[in-house]
């Protein structure tokens, strides 16, 4: 930059009082600043001597900016939300109890990260070093554990809850206390659930009706089992209902709410907000919890199983209406609404929900508990019946009306018949075989499916000819769960996979490689390849689930890989494919893989396959790509899967309907 250009800056006499910064003056300072900035550092002083010769104050201003420019480092480099987050975090830190323990050890649990906070204190993701599994570790705030009687009651309740064994109830592994520098810390270690809370699901979008009924029915099942064991949940709310990607609903925190409840008698009612006096520090939590309280809870009376039915009714209402039935600005307002007011009628919603659903909710939300569902079982039955009826109605609506005599009965599309045949074949075949279907991966619909077949067959027999009904019923039962009732049945896809495992010792290969289903625990450092074959052609993608530094789930692309299969995802029918070799890292834990088998190349995954280079290491870090992949996975996660481990051949057979099958594969290593 030549000096001449800054001559225009020279008439400094204009600035009468150089100490007062004006827009003109600032402009002048800026121009000199930019001129100087473009120079090498050692030439700047000479330039300033010259440019500010008659204006020492200008030089002070410019030098201040130049110094700041050099010193600013990463100043403003990260957006403001992050700076604010830092500050908020400090407060969250101060609130968290007993203190932030991430990275520390509580007994044999190594705390990995903070998962969230709730009325029960903080929840951490932790590694159980004894059993090599990940757990959700709840640390109870000291204020809840000061009262020995309360701790005793809590332990009693938690022990009872830990005896509950039901797929819809989160398993409690251990309850205990350890001594730490800040005194004894009470903890609960429980099954770590990946998925999202119903609270988040409600926030995302309006939940489809059939899914709403499924969630409520699974929740009612869980309540039924707990109630039979004499345990009342006391705090059913969307935050305590977890939805797993595979469709399982898991209820958290059975009976634990007892810990946070103050001891109180009915006489306490009418004192100022008696039910919320215990938790002054977290007003949001109180408001959140108050909305789901039954009238008897709000009054401070004893609760029983029917109180849970009420709370589930509130949750159901919220899923249907998109908002809670009892609202208010303060917990007291909410409580008044619960005790005194009727919620806004669901019949006003558009589209109007089925009247049977209105009846179920009204029954769950009867103020007088004698008029409510007396057992969660009754509620579960009503919910399931309604769901089946709606599914059947939708299916019947697809059959051309009404001259349905056997002679001129409508043609069932060939793909329906095929699907039905395939379904029957599968049903017959699966049961007697000496194979184990991994329960944790099987769709929860698998069990009800058989009874549904019977129901559907019975009803349909009156409508169409028996032979037609049988295949149609099978088609109804086996069409993919996630599809809307009007969607055509998806084709079946299948494939087989197995691992080739190379054991390692002292970083050297040790013994011959062996074939594996991936279910036994491995040693860290071992290497493996994945093998894959399908009778159909399609596209194969393999992702490795990992956590971002922020704790969010992200993915590493493992396959396609440039040197294998020409870098393409497309695999011809019946052609075995072996992937590259992967290491099980030195750190112990579980390596989560997703095998994705798609009829067509998936654009979301094609977009990221190029990341398999030494720089990116396959890691999807662009937010848009990551979101696209997440959406893709979420959209495909619901397809129904049959995963069958054939131990005799050391391979896993997967079948499912839908254009895309997503199979989680977890390799444990220590």
């Amino acid at each position: 930059m030549e000096r001449g250009q800054s001559l225009a800056l020279q008439p400094i006499e204009q600035v009468s009082n150089p100490k007062i910064m004006t827009p003109e003056r600032y402009q002048q300072v800026n121009e000199v600043f930019h001129e100087a900035l473009n120079l090498e550092t050692e030439r700047r002083a000479a330039f300033l001597d010259w440019a500010c010769a008659s204006d020492p104050q200008l030089r002070v201003e410019v030098e201040a900016m130049l110094n700041s420019h050099d010193a600013a480092g990463s100043f403003l480099a990260a957006p403001a939300v992050e700076a604010a987050a830092g500050e908020i975090m400090t407060d969250e830190h101060a609130r968290s109890a007993p203190e932030n323990l991430a990275g520390q050890k509580i007994g044999h649990y190594q705390i990995l990260s903070h998962l969230g906070s709730g009325g029960m204190g903080d929840v951490y993701l932790a590694q159980d070093s004894r059993l090599g599994r990940r757990v959700a570790l709840k640390l109870l705030p000291p204020e809840f554990t000061k009262d020995r009687e309360r701790v005793r009651r809590f332990e009693q309740e938690a022990k009872a809850a830990s005896a509950l064994n039901h797929p819809n109830i989160v398993t409690i592994h251990e309850i205990g206390q350890v001594k730490t520098s800040v005194g004894p810390v009470h903890f609960i270690a429980e099954e770590y659930i990946e998925g999202l809370t119903l609270r988040r699901r409600i926030k995302q979008e309006k939940i489809p009706l059939l899914e709403t009924l499924e969630i409520a029915a699974q929740s009612a099942n869980a309540l039924q089992v707990a109630h039979a064991a004499g345990i009342v949940h006391r705090d059913i709310k969307p935050d305590n209902i977890m939805l797993r990607p595979d469709g399982f609903v898991k209820i958290l925190d059975f009976g634990l709410a007892k810990l946070t409840e103050p001891k109180r008698s009915p006489a306490d009612f009418n004192t100022e907000s008696p039910t919320v006096a215990y938790n002054k520090t977290q007003p949001g939590t109180i408001l959140g919890t108050a909305a789901y309280m039954s009238p008897e809870q709000a009054r401070g009376l004893d609760v029983d199983a029917r109180s849970d039915a009420w709370s589930l009714g509130v949750v159901l209402y919220e899923m249907v209406a998109g908002r809670a039935p009892f609202k208010g600005m303060t917990p007291t307002d909410v409580i008044v609404a619960i005790v005194d007011r009727e919620p806004s009628p669901l019949s006003l919603l558009s589209p109007r929900p089925p009247s049977e659903l209105e009846r179920i909710i009204a029954k769950a939300l009867a103020k007088n508990r004698d008029e409510r569902y007396q057992t969660a079982k009754d509620m579960a039955i009503d919910l399931k019946n309604l769901k089946h009826r709606l599914e059947l109605d939708a299916a019947l609506a697809r059959i051309p009306k009404p001259e349905n005599t056997p002679e001129n009965a409508p043609e069932i599309p060939p793909e329906v018949v095929d699907a039905a045949r395939a379904a029957r074949y599968r049903t017959d075949e699966l049961v007697p075989r000496q194979t184990s279907v991994r329960a944790s991966l099987a769709s929860p619909a698998a069990k009800p499916a058989l009874s549904r077949v019977r129901r559907v067959v019975a009803i349909l027999a009156a409508v169409v000819a028996i032979s037609l009904a049988a295949s149609l019923a099978l088609w109804l039962a086996w069409r993919p769960r996630s599809s809307t009732p009007t969607a055509p049945p998806a084709p079946e896809r299948q494939f087989t996979y197995w691992l080739t495992v190379q054991q390692m010792r002292d970083h050297k290969e040790y013994k011959e490689p062996y074939q594996s289903t991936g279910q036994e625990p491995f040693e860290a450092g071992w290497k493996f390849k994945l093998n894959f074959i399908s009778p159909q052609s399609g596209s194969l993608y393999i992702l490795n689930e990992t956590l971002t530094s922020g704790g969010a789930i992200t993915y590493r692309v493992l396959f396609p890989f440039p040197s294998i299969n020409n870098g393409s995802a497309q695999i011809p029918a019946n052609q075995p494919i072996q992937t590259g070799r992967y290491d099980l890292t030195e750190r112990q834990g579980a390596e989560k893989l997703l095998l994705i088998w798609a009829a067509q190349p998936a654009p979301e995954l094609e977009a990221v396959k190029g990341l398999v280079n030494p720089k990116d290491l396959g890691l999807i870090s662009a937010a848009t790509q990551l979101n696209a992949v997440r959406d893709f996975l979420a959209g495909s996660a619901k397809s129904k899967l049959e995963i069958e481990t054939d131990n005799s051949k050391a391979q896993v057979n997967v079948r499912g309907q839908g254009d895309v099958l997503v199979i989680p594969l977890e390799l444990k290593h220590h």
Binding site: T22, P23, H69, P79, V81, E92, H114, I202, K203, G551
Partner: protein
């Protein structure tokens, strides 16, 4: 059904003041979540760029696909201003509550952590907001750039297209604004 933050922002930018009331709790909620994930990141001691995390949060906050190209510039301007107001108010309230309540029982180990934490997020948003107010008088263009970049989380190209000026101008004005603000805050 809770309206999305983007819908509320759009409503608000069309003059619906009530949207703002609904908006605040949602944004605060997101911020708290962000703070928690921030916390986890520190626990892991990972090396990923902080901006990845923040962009993710911002994408969640503002679904840019819902915004048409016509109102994009105006929308980002408003969204950035809003973020500025929300964040600064939030911090202000938090501090007031802390001073007033004063009932935080910090253990010694934690107090130490808090001190380190403070030094890491060295930006005092309230002081910055005040300095930015002074900058708006001196150079409205620089102040807008800071608002879009720092509070709105826009990149330089995004800022340039939102303001209809060249990349080079944005870069030049941004570096001056940054230097000036830094000198103001280190006084």
């Amino acid at each position: 059904m809770a309206e999305s933050i983007t819908q509320l922002l759009l409503k608000w930018s069309e003059g619906d003041q009530s949207a703002l009331d609904q908006l605040m709790p949602l944004v605060y909620d997101e911020l708290r979540q962000l703070a928690r994930s921030y916390l986890r990141r520190h626990a892991h001691n990972h090396t990923m760029q902080p901006t990845v995390l923040v962009n993710e949060a911002y994408l969640r906050l503002v679904n840019q696909h819902q915004v048409t190209w016509e109102n994009r510039a105006q929308f980002f301007g408003l969204a950035s201003k809003l973020m500025r107001n929300l964040l600064v108010d939030y911090i202000r309230q938090r501090r007031a509550a802390k001073r007033g309540g004063g009932d935080y029982n910090l253990s010694l180990t934690f107090a130490d952590k808090a001190a380190r934490q403070q030094s890491q997020s060295e930006i005092d948003l309230i002081a910055l907001d005040e300095a930015l107010g002074r900058l708006a008088v001196l150079s409205p263009q620089q102040s807008t750039i800071v608002e879009l970049r720092f509070f709105g989380g826009l990149t330089i190209p995004e800022t340039a297209s939102a303001m209809g000026i060249s990349h080079a101008t944005v870069e030049r004005e941004w570096s001056a604004a940054r230097a000036w603000l830094y000198s103001q805050l280190s006084k």
